[in-house]
Symmetry: C2
Subunit: 405 residues, 2 copies
Amino acid sequence: MFKVNDNYLKLPGSYLFSTIGRKVREYKESNPDKEVISLGIGDVTQPLAPSIIKSIHEATDEMADGQTFKGYAPDLGYEFLRSAISINDYKSRGVDIALDEIFVSDGAKSDSGNIQEIFSVDNKIAVCDPVYPVYIDANAMAGRTGDFNADTSLWSNVIYMPCTAENGFAPELPSETPDIIYLCFPNNPTGATISKDQLQKWVDYANSVKAVIIYDAAYEAYISEANIAHTIYECEGAKTCAIELKSFSKNAGFTGTRLGYTVIPKELKDENGVMLNSLWARRHGTKFNGAPYIIQRAGEAVYSEAGKRETKAQIDYYMNNAKIIRDGLADIGYTVFGGVNAPYIWLKTPEGVSSWQFFDLLLDRASVVGTPGCGFGPSGEGYFRLTAFGTTENTIKALGRIKNI
Amino acid sequence: MFKVNDNYLKLPGSYLFSTIGRKVREYKESNPDKEVISLGIGDVTQPLAPSIIKSIHEATDEMADGQTFKGYAPDLGYEFLRSAISINDYKSRGVDIALDEIFVSDGAKSDSGNIQEIFSVDNKIAVCDPVYPVYIDANAMAGRTGDFNADTSLWSNVIYMPCTAENGFAPELPSETPDIIYLCFPNNPTGATISKDQLQKWVDYANSVKAVIIYDAAYEAYISEANIAHTIYECEGAKTCAIELKSFSKNAGFTGTRLGYTVIPKELKDENGVMLNSLWARRHGTKFNGAPYIIQRAGEAVYSEAGKRETKAQIDYYMNNAKIIRDGLADIGYTVFGGVNAPYIWLKTPEGVSSWQFFDLLLDRASVVGTPGCGFGPSGEGYFRLTAFGTTENTIKALGRIKNI
């Protein structure tokens, strides 16, 4: 008789964004005349840049011709893309990453969910609180997180590193030693980041306790200030302790186009000399069959001169929205964070108003969708996330409505 | 100190097709003047059909316009695609599959590797021998298969169901009761299939012992004979015991385009009433973020009238190749199987020649790449797989060379 994976049954409720989606659907059904503006899910709104579109069309035409048609892709991804990544995302920052240290995927969500598989179930993870839910949920599904306490919203076997206004949303080194540390900077959901020196301390710590840092750099393109690492490998010693996850979703608008990559340096080995690179290569080759050829060509176009210029303009566009939200909320008395090196604004909800109450308030009174901070972890309670990924027109309109609540 | 997933270290050598790829690369480097013809990996060669190309171009143009741009897809896949699947692959065969029982993915390889995650580690799996390696490897990575014995090439905790010429490559009901049964018909690698009545026996058996059948129907489009089920749900009672995996790779040439889907009926529940559909929905929503919009549109085009006509012509083209291989090999005295309801020809290697020896022989003397039967399991020893997915020109050329060995 078959038995299900009981770990799934421990997961609380449904996935945060599914819950939000349901609430919004219900609101729309009850209020068909209201125009809902979403500053909730971190989904982009600007169309794919012209050079990317051109590249997709060209690759599609290749797929139409037997002479240029492409079947199964190389396990790690096409070399043209891995080469562009190595040169533009690493060599340009003084970091050497070999082509076989780069694994092209269908996106950072898949990678951040799947990467835990190459680790033993009895590793203990440390996560920021609040945190992108996938890190914990994927580990919970694997049986690595103990039991969920509905009262505290905490898992019994996870090391939580609170990130609040009090510590500037920068986690402190945990008192209990973790085996795997998830870090995301610029941060989703808080929009905060840490300096390169602060990140170096994490790298030194991980090396000293032989922990692995899973570094989610999905929002790297939004860094506007100096002294912030664009890749963790700018820190000395990171190659022996860090895996880096990157996405094309936020720097090039690929949320519906799906492309990402993971870097695992060959220096990263366990105590017996087993390379994590080899384990991930095995997983990649066995349980995945590559991103579509035309999408990998789209990714390559992001690194062309025109692609860089065009996607930079989109980032500027979103960061202008971030400024509109940040300044607009501050003007009417909200305490706001983020929005400088990240497309997220993290605001404190008014005194006595919980995150979900603020969600309902915003939806009911302004038809604006945001994300309750508590959905990212208990330390997110009393906070609320708004994204800069809307259109400027809608962002201005949403702020106008929020001012009139 | 972090610890790796030890189960990965139990995996023998590297993935079959990676090994073949290495051997072929080495051969090409040593023989730069030789034209190698691959009838090895099951990769298609015909370009995407015109109506599919047209659909990709149109969807790409949608992605270029803010008004029609698509970000994150719905968790289960776009309704236009799930609706086309439900109507064309199920309703047309008298089977009702609801839209929320269909999960669109980036391909059947990912699904066949990932589906085991929703089951407890202590389930025992049964597989055909020979078998598509992903089923076993994915379970081995999860720790479900015991230990690998290099002498026998068998895992200690797997129920193997030998499929050989003696039983017509149709597995017999296992004497030990499994929890999860992997079946693939038309079969990769043997090219064999079983009748609808035979499949009904498996469904009845699974229901009686409360096992789940994971039914890989990736080659369904190649069925040419009557009395063969195009979906397992044609069998009575299948909805309470079977998960079906489907691919666009082989019916529409999507090996490099990446699209597939999994069906999990809501009737399929464990002893406590837990729906596998809900668990897979949770995994899909947490660790995956959808196939690209433009690829889902490409999938929809497969079901258009033109798409059906064009992809049918491609299947006819490949099946003509299958006939060329099958008849050609039989003419020169080989014992051949498959190639009637599947694009694979499964041949017996000459007396005293092992599968890998035949691989080397074919590569060295004919510059033709095939797949050693033993790569699919010990009962595949003494067999060899050739695929019909080459061009007809190359297929004829390859057969000519094989005749002259």
